[in-house]
Each structure stands twice: as C-alpha cells, then as structure tokens.
C-alpha cells in the first residue's frame, strides 16, 4: 500500500466553476492509502508545483494523483515536479477532470461526482505503479526531408546550416515544388522563380545536403533518433554523372505528345524531359509511357545525339537504405479534382481554368509564353470572371470543409496583374467572404478594388454555360443587391480548393504519423507543438499540416528545422520505459507475441528457470526495450498471460475498471 497524495487543481475557474473541488478533496481523503489531499488554484504554476514537492517530502508520499487538465497537457510537468522532490516520475497519475469533466458537464453535482470517480480510478492505479527508469538510445545525426518544395528546401537549408547532414527525397525529377509553378507572389508581386531558384541552387550546392530527386520513400522502420528508411531511386535512364544538361535530347526527341505535368497539362512535352528550364538537377528523365524506344525498341535518337553518352536505357530502379535521426514531412499540396463540379463546365470548356493553370498561362515560360489568351482559340479575353471557394468551405461530399486560405489573396493578385497589364479587360470576382489576414494583405486586396477597379461581387456562381459563339454564360447571384446575375465571360478562373498531395496518406502510414479526416497531418498539439507530429522524431513543414501561404510555410519550415536541430544536437535520448515485459516463469515460448509485434522487438532466448524447485532451461520471450514502443498488442495476444506492459499493466487497468464501476 502506497502513501498517496491527491492534488486537485481549480485551473482558475476552468475546473472550479463546475466541479466542487473542496468536496473532491474531502471525498478522496477517505480513499484507501490517501494520506494527503489539497486543492490549489493553479497546480501547474511554480507555487502549485512547490506545494506538491513539499507534500511529497513532508508526508513521505509514495505516489501522487493530480486532478487537473489532460495528461497530454501537463503529465510531463508534474512528473518533473515529482522527480525534483525525489519521487520516481512514474509514480504520478493524472485524473483528467477538465477536458473529460468540467468542460463538458454543466451540472455541478454531476461533474463533482464524476471528478471523484476519475480521481478514485487514478488512485487505484497509482497504488500499483512501479518505479520505472527510462533507457537510453543513440541518435543518428542525419535528417530526412520528404518533399523538395519550398518547405522542404527551407527546412533542409536550415538544418544543414547548423552543421547536420540532410537528405531531400523528391518524387518529381526536380526540386522546387508548387512554388516553381507560380508566376508572381502576393502581396509584393515578386517573381516566384526569381526568389525560389537561388534557394534551389543553395540547396543543391550545400555540402551537407544530398538530393534524391525522382525518388520516393519506400518504407520506414525504427523510431526517434534511429529511423531506417528505404528510398526508391526511380530509373531516370540518364546518367546523372555524365549528363551536361545541354537539352539536345529533348529537342530531338520525336515523341512530343505527353502532357506537361509542370504546365498542368495545358501543353505537351517530349518523352525525355526536364520539367522546367531551371530544374535542379538539370538532368532529364525518360518517361517510359511515351518513349518510343521503351515501347517499341525502335528510335534511340536521344542516345545518338547525346555527346556525353549519358543515356542508359538499361537503368533500373535502385533501393537505397539510409539511417536518420529525424524525419520531416514536407509533401505539400495539389488542387482538388473538379470532375464532381459539372456546373462550372471545367471539363467542357478549355476557357474554364483553375487558378494554378492561370499561373502557368501568365508565366513567360508557360504554354502561352505569358500572353493572356483563351486556350480554345488563342484570342485575348475581354471579360474574365473569377469564382472563389470552388470546393473550399463546402459541406457536401464533393468539396472540403476548410478554407484553403490562399485563394482570396492569389485571386486579388491575378485580378491586379491582369488589370495592370491589360487595362481594357474587365475583371469580376464572385466571392463568399474576402479573407485577408496577413501582413499587408488587406492593403493589397483594397488596392485591387480601389486602384485597379476589380469588380467584387458577394455571391456564388450557380452555373457556367459554354455558348455556341465560344463565350461563357456565368449565372450567379449578388447577395448584397439580392439580384440574379447573368453575364458573358471570355474566360472563367476557378479558385480551386487545395488538398494534401495524394501520396501523403501512404507516407503518414509508413511513419505512423497521425492524419486527420482531410488528410492533413496532425500536430502534436495544435497550438503549442504545431510543427511536431505526435510520433516522436517526425516533424511537419508546409501545407501537409494545413493550408498556408509562402511566408507561413517558410516560417514553419524554419521552426521544424529548429526542432530537428534540437533533436540531432543530443547524443542520447531517453526512451519510454512503458515497454512490454515477459514473465519468464509463465512464458511457454509459443511465439504468438512475436507475430503480433509491429516492431520486431520480441526475441527468444534459452533461459534457466527455477519453477517450484525444478531447475530447467526454457525457451522464453525477451523484449528488446529499445525497440518496444509500448503498444501492448503482445500483452493481449499472450495466451499464458506472461506478457504485461509496464505503466499500463493488467492489474493497473483492472484497478481503474473496478474503481469506475464501484
């Protein structure tokens, strides 16, 4: 029987307004083993922690229960406080009487009763807690960044600048990401390529950064500080070391009908290609789907013209295994598929385009060489309609419930740039709300309206109908005037919702990083740990975590880098002591536990046991505590009840069940 102290926090009025904390204190005092109980307005404050420390020493407490907020919030705080007072940190249990009680119940009687029961469960558990000691593991001082867009590049540069090795894995043939597809950036109208390419060059030239382009992460094993990652280097069919990037192969390639991914399918490219002129590395890849040589065996023109002899049709995918201490996910975004949005005629008319396609149209290196023209007939448009929130803030199954955040600003940018370059073009924007929180953002939007005369209409567009004369009829509503609007347009631009890049779920699964219903990766804490995944050693950078613009992405990329540097700067990490443990006497070596263990943490050894005076050697399970992550799958699978989980033992959980059902 432990000597237990119970500390009930008021959390200001967060708990005390709905839970009668005094009554909780008085009631738990009657529990078995409780020798001390008190309440305090802020238990997590320095004074509150001092109170706990004093009680541990004075009353010689063997275990404590803190009735406060979620253990996900302050368990670490109270464990440290206990440790400073000389108590093993794992002799602390938290009763969550805020998130699971005071905040969700209104009736004081009910909430107080529940708080008492939750406290009782924690007391019952702490009686059975044992003194646990964390182990140690070494840290591999190398980081992996998945995704070579601006988020990945910035994270890699910041980590490399601190002196650590970084690998970037990028699935496309070049780094640069979405930002390389943009023409100008808001709110300064900087040329996107002009500010991005120097960073791309920096990353490629940095002695600590290694680029794996046209590569994908194949599998991940291990844990924080000790990840092992298989990377698939897809066959480029071009020798990276020999290629000089002259571009002759692309020029001579007879197969030029493949859709250019970089230009969003608006024009075509050759079968051997670099996605764009400033690509890094400037080494082309052969797209086997459209290469004549690959399909029929006849052609080989690129090989003939390549003076460097870099073309190698026999190249195969290569799997590389690397060790990392930390992994950063920077997989970015794509725009949603518009097949479900028939009303906007996107699939019917080439003159209905997405905003990202407009970026390519307005870019000098784009399909129209930067001239604003209709993709159907090449004529200059006179009337352009922008439609906001296509698939964003959408409750039905077709769209996304969230705000894509960047659309209001890029639409203002597009409208402004068009009006600046082509003052005779009329620009109309249909919007639900204009959202411009950001430095110089609202000023920018107001310039679009006030100086450039962009016509903003609050209302949604119901239908876009292609007309026989080639124009588009836009039917919408003006909510402020309460009128239906029918207008003719030459071009319609859809501010299409953004969503995480398609492959992110697969990557998250490999990393066991949690992901939300919209496929955005989840943060360890939405406010206080926004760049860390709940999975230790996995960090988040850029839009994979939630919609954001370039400045926000770059800030988050830097923040993620700092977290990685903080981790890699350590030589050793403390490991979670709540691992599985096998009772040698009960184990019969059946291997069931080994089969369910996702970490390969269970092995078998021949051990000498003394079973009721009989000495014999038995094959028994042994848990490698450095590999065990403490899920507990083996504890339930074990048919002889030999396997148990420290910190969440069978007896501890049963004690909680008993206390709750009492």
């Amino acid at each position: 029987m432990q000597r237990i102290g119970v500390f009930v926090c008021h959390c200001g009025s967060n708990i005390a307004a709905t839970v009668d904390v005094k009554r909780v204190v008085e009631t738990v005092k009657k529990e078995q083993g409780v020798v001390h109980a008190e309440d305090y307005p802020y238990m997590c404050s320095e004074a509150g922690q001092a109170l706990i420390a004093a009680a541990i020493k004075e009353k010689n407490l063997g275990g404590i229960v803190v009735c406060s907020c979620s253990p996900r919030m302050h368990e670490a705080t109270f464990r440290k406080a206990a440790e400073r007072a000389g108590l093993n940190p794992y002799m602390v249990e938290i009763a969550n009487i805020r998130e699971h009680c005071s905040w969700i119940h209104k009736d004081m009687e009910e909430a107080t009763e529940k708080a008492v029961i939750l406290a009782r469960a924690a007391i019952a558990k702490v009686h059975l807690n044992s003194h646990l000691q964390p182990g140690e593991s070494l840290v591999t001082k190398r980081a992996l960044v998945i995704g070579g867009g601006i988020a990945g590049i910035q994270t890699a540069l910041d980590i490399a600048e601190a002196g650590y090795e970084v690998d970037i894995v990028e699935k496309t043939p070049s780094i640069g990401g979405r930002m390389s597809q943009l023409d100008k950036t808001f709110p300064t109208l900087d040329c996107s390529a002009c500010i991005l390419t120097p960073k791309m060059v920096d990353a490629a030239a940095h002695e600590k950064i290694n680029l794996y382009t046209y590569s994908e992460v194949e599998s991940v094993s291990g844990f924080v500080g000790n990840f092992s990652v298989d990377i698939r280097k897809k066959a480029r069919f071009v020798d990276m070391n020999k290629c000089t990037g002259c571009g002759l192969c692309q020029e001579k390639c007879p197969s030029k009908k493949a859709k250019s991914e970089f230009n969003r399918g608006l024009n075509t490219r050759s079968a051997i290609y670099t996605p764009f002129a400033q690509a890094i590395p400037n080494v082309p890849v052969i797209d086997t789907e459209s290469c004549v040589k690959m399909k029929t065996g006849k052609c080989g023109l690129c090989e003939k013209v390549c003076q460097a002899g870099a073309i190698d049709y026999s190249q195969k995918d290569e799997i590389i295994t690397e060790k990392y201490g930390a992994i950063v996910v920077a997989t970015g975004f794509d725009t949603i598929n518009l097949d479900q949005y028939g009303e906007y005629a996107y699939n019917e008319s080439p003159d209905v385009i997405t905003s990202l396609e407009l970026e390519r149209v307005m870019n000098a290196a784009g399909p129209t060489k930067g001239h604003l023209e209709r993709l159907s007939d090449g004529k200059a448009p006179k009337e352009i309609v922008f439609i906001q929130c296509v698939g964003s803030r959408c409750d039905d199954h077709r769209g996304k419930p969230y705000c894509s955040k960047i659309c209001c600003m890029y639409t203002a940018k597009h409208a402004m740039l068009i009006r600046d370059k082509y003052p005779d073009v009329n620009v109309t924007v249909f919007y639900i709300d204009v959202r411009t929180p950001g430095k110089n953002f609202d000023e920018f939007y107001r310039r679009a309206v006030e100086e450039y005369g962009v016509n903003y209409i609050k209302g949604q567009v119901g239908k876009v109908v292609p007309q026989p004369d080639g124009s588009l009829l836009v039917q919408g509503s003006d909510l402020l005037d309460g009128k239906q609007i029918k207008m003719r347009a030459d071009m319609v631009v859809l501010a299409t919702a953004i969503e995480p890049e398609a492959g992110v779920r697969k990557i998250a699964t490999m990393l066991t990083a949690s992901i939300d219903t919209n496929n955005f990766l989840t943060e360890a804490h939405p406010k206080l740990r926004p760049v860390e995944s709940p999975t230790a050693g996995v960090f988040l950078s850029g839009v994979c975590q939630g919609p954001k613009d370039i400045p926000e992405t770059v800030s988050q990329a830097g923040a993620a880098a700092v977290k990685v540097i903080g981790l890699l700067a350590k030589d050793k990490l403390l490991t979670n002591p709540c691992t599985a443990e096998s009772d040698t006497l009960l184990c019969n070596g059946c291997s069931v536990c080994q089969n369910v263990c996702p970490y390969g943490a269970i092995g078998y050894e021949d051990k000498e046991v003394n079973d009721h005076g009989i000495r014999e050697t038995r094959r028994v399970a042994v848990v490698n505590s450095a590999l065990c992550q403490g899920c507990g799958a083996c504890t339930v699978a074990c048919p002889s009840g030999a396997m148990d989980l420290k910190g969440f033992s069978n007896r501890q959980i049963l004690a909680e069940v008993d206390a709750i059902c009492r």
Partner: protein, 145 residues
C-alpha cells in the same frame, strides 16, 4: 408512492492515447458535451484492451463498454487497431451469445481531430444504453450490496 430514480448507466470508455483520447480532449476544449455517465480509461493503443477488461467491467456492474481507437490505417503503432477490431468482433459475439445485448458494446474510430465525432458517439451510446436499461446478465451478485 416512491418515485423511481432515473436510470444512470455506468459506462466505461477505453480510449487510445494517440487518437481517441486526444479526440476526447478536443471534445472537452471545444465544450462539446456528453453525459457524465461516460468515464474514460486511457490506454496506449486500442490493442492494449484485453477482452478480460471488458468482461471485468460487466462483472463489476458496467452497463456499457465502448472501445475507441485510431481510424484503420492511422494507428500510431501501425496495426494495433486491426488486432483490436478482430478481438472485439469475437468478444462481442461471445457476449451476445451470453445474453449481453449487442448494443452494450461498441468499437468506434475517433481521430485526434474528431472532437465532434467523439461527443456524438458518446451521446448516441449513452442513449442506447439508457434504452437497454441496467445490465443484469454478467453482473457478479457478490459485487452488489
């Protein structure tokens, strides 16, 4: 005439630390209420829940038991929730056979971002248990006064 006391069920919810417990926290911080009858026990993973824990809860007088874990494919430990799903399918059919109605047990996937879902599920589950009334089948009579 004595007034019959309103039936307040005892409900045990096992929540995995990474998704559902966090989802319950989010329900709390978003002030999305559900009845106080639900008491949550934190486990590292849904696969930590031994069928024995659920039997014990019923034996000790619980009227309903719910197990919440990460969505399939999102388990922090890769595969834990799949084990939990299979074990519970077996256990629940056994319980049904023993006369513990199907509705008294439930498995639900709640992510860390699904505070609304957590609250909705708990409200539904409590309603269901209230409609089923007190669980008498597995209760150990020695546990009653």
């Amino acid at each position: 005439m004595p007034v019959e006391k309103e039936f307040r069920p005892k409900i045990v919810a096992f929540c995995c630390n990474w998704c559902s417990y966090a989802g319950a926290d989010l329900a709390g911080s978003s002030r999305l209420g559900y009845p106080a009858d639900v008491k949550i026990i934190r486990v590292p993973c849904s696969c930590r829940v031994n069928p024995m824990f659920i039997l014990r809860a019923f034996e000790k007088g619980a009227d309903g038991v719910i197990l919440c874990g990460c969505h399939p494919g999102d388990c922090h430990y890769s595969t834990g929730n799949y084990y939990a799903r299979r074990r519970m399918t077996l256990l629940f059919s056994l319980l049904d056979y023993l006369g513990v109605e199907e509705g008294r047990t439930r498995v639900e996937w709640v992510s860390a971002a699904e505070g609304v879902k957590f609250s909705t599920v708990m409200n539904e589950f409590v309603d269901k248990i209230r409609s089923l009334g007190e669980n008498v089948r597995l209760g150990d009579l020695r546990c009653k006064n």
